[in-house]
């Protein structure tokens, strides 16, 4: 059942993989027009690459979210290298704190069960038990995440049973989360795996307090508070500045926010059921959680847009306002924000008009960014979403209208395809995911890194900042030009004359 959620999923130990749940595709080469047509007929499943490059499994984005949780210790149950991505996440985490004005930033803290050859034979449950007990005693956290890597998935370790068995003697709530890297090609399955455990372990409906003489005034005040309370679901690829911008807009509507999952305290999930509505900024990130929250607890949701660029931010804001009957307020905000933004963008538009751009990142972010850059006057020549599914269709529709032949490559990194495409479409600037960017730079293309740093990317502030940064980056392209002249790509020259999608083998329909 494409695009759907089956409530019974939550009774299972493991969330389904996205290939099965959503028909998600991660290998495709063609145009925006072709993907629109082929996805609709289910032609994109069961594809493969016959040449692969190191990629990203579901464990990696999972650690980005889970390591950010306050008062929580993540235990990566696996070999010593799984979870090592936290080194980079920790550095970014510190930068984020400094950007937020903290003078004493802290790095992340996680444990590895450090599975070895003997554990593969005799099982890793005992080591996991000792890690949980030690983590509880040593760090006194509110929650302990047990994150399963590939190995427990095939040696028969049962992290759920270990969690259940130990919970009575452990102060922290134990969250078993399954992120075996070999089980899915779609790293976004991680979001479902995390929310699956959060729904099972953390979300709850508080028991109603019963007092002998009810304080009707207090009850009414609480009802009013909750009628204006929204859940804002953040994503780990947002900066603090992004979050501030979105909260600013929601506050302008007179609403209050409960923000999670990233950087949240485990307690924050308990309040998820108090909100009037849940607001997502990324359908591919949140659909599993939102649907369950609605079906199980009756909390409706607003989903579908990533507030990137002027129009998508407008749509996002209108949907929220409409839910609360605040359409007039939204229009007033939009009118004033738009006027100010357009005035500020004028000098940049002049420099950016006609510049060719290529984008590579998460599905929605890539496509929404493309739409915004077209609005801004640039020419989108190629887009590379990390995966593609039904949530991308809204933005694809818009791109097809702009230019049906925009090149589209579904790839979780795979820079060999990217550099081939670059030689064909010759972009002036590349907006990419962490670790993609360098290959564009070596191709001589200026890079605007989409993620991280202290930048703002969302909302009106983000729309402005993207333009401002693009304008700056194109002021001097010497670094990338020198790189291209002096550093070579690892591929034979002939590769650049080949079809960039030569190694994608389109699969048969099941």
């Amino acid at each position: 059942m494409r695009g759907g959620i089956n409530l019974s999923y939550i009774d299972e130990k493991v969330a389904p993989k996205r290939e099965d749940r959503l028909g998600t595709c991660i290998e495709f080469g063609g145009s925006v027009c072709e993907i629109k047509r082929k996805f609709g007929c289910g032609c994109l499943q069961n594809s493969n690459r016959t040449f692969g490059q190191g990629s990203i499994c579901q464990l990696l984005p999972a650690t980005a979210i889970l390591n950010s949780l306050q008062d929580t210790v993540v235990i990566v149950h696996g070999a010593v290298g799984c979870g090592g991505v936290a080194h980079t996440q920790s550095a970014s985490f510190r930068w984020g704190q400094i950007a937020a004005g903290k003078t004493n930033p802290k790095g992340l803290l996680w444990l590895s069960t450090n599975l070895g050859e003997t554990d593969v034979i005799s099982g890793g449950d005992a080591k996991l038990r000792s890690a949980i007990i030690a983590a509880d005693k040593r760090y006194r956290p509110s929650a302990i995440v047990v994150l399963s890597s590939c190995i427990p998935g095939i040696i028969g370790d049962d992290i759920d049973s270990v969690a259940t068995e130990l919970q009575p003697q452990i102060n922290a709530v134990i969250l078993p989360i399954h992120c075996e890297g070999f089980k899915t090609k779609v790293m976004a399955t991680a979001y479902d795996a995390i929310f699956h455990s959060i729904i099972r372990q953390l979300v709850e409906v508080e028991a109603e307090e019963t007092t002998i003489i009810p304080d009707e005034l207090a009850i009414a005040a609480e009802k009013i508070r909750r009628s204006k309370l929204v859940n804002l679901l953040n994503v780990s690829s947002m900066t603090g500045a992004d979050q501030q911008e979105l909260i600013r807009l929601i506050n302008k509507l007179g609403l209050e926010v409960n923000v999670f999952p990233c950087d949240a305290h485990p307690e924050a999930f308990k309040y998820a059921t108090q909100a009037a509505v849940s607001i997502s900024i990324c359908p591919t990130h949140d659909d599993y959680f939102l649907t369950h929250l609605q079906e199980k607890y009756g909390i409706p949701y607003i989903n579908g847009q990533m507030p990137i660029g002027l129009n998508n931010t407008n749509i996002w804001l209108r949907k929220i306002a409409n839910f609360f009957g605040l359409d007039d307020v939204a229009e007033r905000i939009i009118a004033s924000e738009t006027a100010e933004l357009n005035a500020a963008l004028a000098p940049f538009r002049e420099n950016l008009t006609g510049r060719k751009v290529m984008i590579s990142a998460g599905e929605i972010r890539t496509l929404a960014t493309a739409v915004w850059l077209q609005e801004l006057g640039l020419e989108v020549v190629a887009v590379r979403p990390y995966h593609y599914d039904t949530f991308g269709e809204v933005e694809i529709e818009k791109l097809v209208v702009i230019n049906p032949s925009i090149m589209l490559n579904v790839a979780t990194a795979h820079p060999f395809e990217a550099v081939n495409i670059i030689e064909r479409v010759k972009p002036d600037v590349y907006l990419g995911h962490v670790s993609d960017n360098v290959w564009a730079a070596k191709s001589g293309v200026s890079v605007l890194p989409i993620y991280g740093g202290q930048n703002v990317y969302n909302g009106y502030a983000g729309a402005y900042d993207i333009a401002r940064r693009l304008n700056r980056i194109l002021k001097n392209t010497a670094f990338v030009k020198n790189l291209r002249a002096n550093v070579r790509q690892p591929y034979y020259q002939e590769w650049f004359d080949e079809n960039p999608f030569k190694y994608i083998k389109q699969g048969a329909i099941d």
């Binding site: 692969g52 190191g54 996440q89 000792s130 990194a413």
Partner: protein, 447 residues
């Protein structure tokens, strides 16, 4: 050594260490035979732990990888690997391809050697190594790669060249300063008239590596890393090895050069002359910082935290050359008890006679406990012999500990997230001058 869980492991897994080692050999291409996330996991680790070491020629997310899936694990992944190798050699230009397994393909027992043989028979220069993460950490991966080179790539030669040595023991990526360190020691040895094969620097190439079998000696700049490979090399190529701690500073460097001279039966006058001129060079610069050292009292108590190379080497430099007071040396590797004697002996016999306290601890948050156990806390005394002025030399993790005890801090060991490292190194005479610059610059940073 996988006896317990580890807080924030200070290493890659074996596959990561292996991939970085292969990627550091000019012209060599790693081919991962692993789950799809292994490549990304290694790279995203590397980007925050190695002084901003980039992907290079064919690393990062460009690394060829079979990205095996559940059905490969059920039915075997050799076929997928074969397809991957076939297309890699068509697409990616390299002089040597090295198949590296991850945990999953190790556990299911894919026969990568059969795949490698098949392609060798077809004229491809390719070898394979079993480097699944369950086999150990990044240091182990480095060792496995060197062993594989010794076994399947380096040509066997009867006649040895007396002045030719291989230089090992400094692990790419695990040591953020590996390039600088190797080049410094290489240059030093070249001044003894030796021909040096250092494998992992821009000065090396595949032709000389293939020809490494006629060396007279393998010099391993570590008592722990690369030893397994040196043993293998000795068995296959009949080349003995000299394992010696990483030398930092004039005292350790002189001891190092004497050992090399002895092992190769070099003319002792040449060795002595090199020691004399390098020491003179070192003191030409130290002479001119002695004013600040004396006027501003640069002597510091120190806690040194790092792997078995750095913790030992830096402790010795501080005590024997700089006149500092290393009170606590934290070795962050899991060193088997029977092998700890190598460290105890070395640090127990410092030329200065200074005694540090050695502990073995993998977990950063526990270091403070060791420190408290070692140095008495102030129980409200009016007159208290404080651990001050103090310095913590360790990794980026130790910033918080240094701040807690009011000490200066310099990152030298993995993970290195707060420094950018290009060709800088701390080894030898030259490197120790750089280390002095970096340490003293922290002290004067706010002036």
């Amino acid at each position: 050594m996988n006896t317990k869980f580890i807080e924030r492991p200070r290493s890659f897994c074996a596959l990561g260490g292996a991939a970085l080692a292969v990627g550091a050999i000019p012209g060599a291409i790693p081919i991962l035979h692993s789950s799809m996330g292994c490549g990304g996991s290694i790279y995203w680790n590397q980007l925050g732990s190695t002084g901003y070491l980039g992907a290079g020629y064919c690393g990062g997310l460009a690394v060829p990888s079979s990205n095996i899936q559940e059905n490969d694990i059920v039915f075997g992944g050799a076929e997928r690997l074969s397809e991957q190798v076939e297309n890699t050699v068509k697409l990616v230009e390299g002089g040597l391809y090295v198949i590296l397994t991850g945990c999953m393909t190790d556990i299911i027992g894919d026969d990568i050697q059969a795949v490698a043989s098949e392609y060798r028979a077809r004229g491809v220069t390719i070898i394979g190594a079993e480097t699944g993460g369950v086999r150990g950490n990044g240091y182990r991966g480095y060792d496995i790669v060197l062993s594989a080179l010794a076994t399947d790539y380096i040509e066997q030669q009867e006649t040895k060249v007396g002045s030719k040595v291989n230089l090992w023991g400094i692990v790419p990526g695990q040591d953020a300063f590996w390039r600088g360190n190797l080049v410094i020691i290489r240059n030093l040895l070249e001044r003894l008239g030796l021909e040096v094969n250092s494998f992992f620097t821009e000065k090396d190439n595949l032709a000389t590596i293939k020809n490494a079998g006629n060396a007279a000696l393998n010099i391993v700049l570590s008592d722990f890393y690369g030893i397994g490979a040196a043993e293998t090399f000795q068995d296959i190529h009949g080349v003995p090895y000299l394992a010696t701690p990483l030398p930092i500073g004039p005292t350790a460097s002189a001891e190092f050069l004497l050992k090399v001279g002895e092992a190769l039966a070099l003319d002792s006058a040449i060795v002595q002359e090199l020691i004399r001129s390098e020491t003179k060079h070192y003191y030409t610069y130290v002479d001119r910082i002695a004013d600040a050292y004396s006027d501003l009292d640069f002597q510091r108590y120190a806690v040194v935290v790092g792997d078995a190379n750095y913790s030992v080497a830096v402790t010795k430099f501080l005590a024997d050359d700089l006149g500092w007071l290393p009170e606590l040396t934290v070795v962050t590797d899991e060193i088997p008890t029977e092998q700890q004697v190598k460290i105890t002996d070395y640090l127990g016999n410092l030329r200065s006679g200074y005694k540090t306290n050695i502990v073995y601890e993998t977990d950063a948050t526990e270091i403070k406990t060791h420190f408290r156990n070692h140095w008495p806390v102030n129980r409200g005394q009016q007159f208290y012999d404080a651990f001050s002025p103090a310095f913590v030399i360790g990794s980026s993790w130790e910033r918080e500990f240094a701040k807690d005890i009011g000490a200066g801090h310099l990152t030298v060991a993995y993970p290195v997230s707060n420094r950018v490292v290009l060709n800088n190194g701390y080894a030898g005479y030259q490197g120790s001058l750089a280390l002095i610059e970096d340490l003293f610059s922290v002290i004067v940073a706010e002036r």
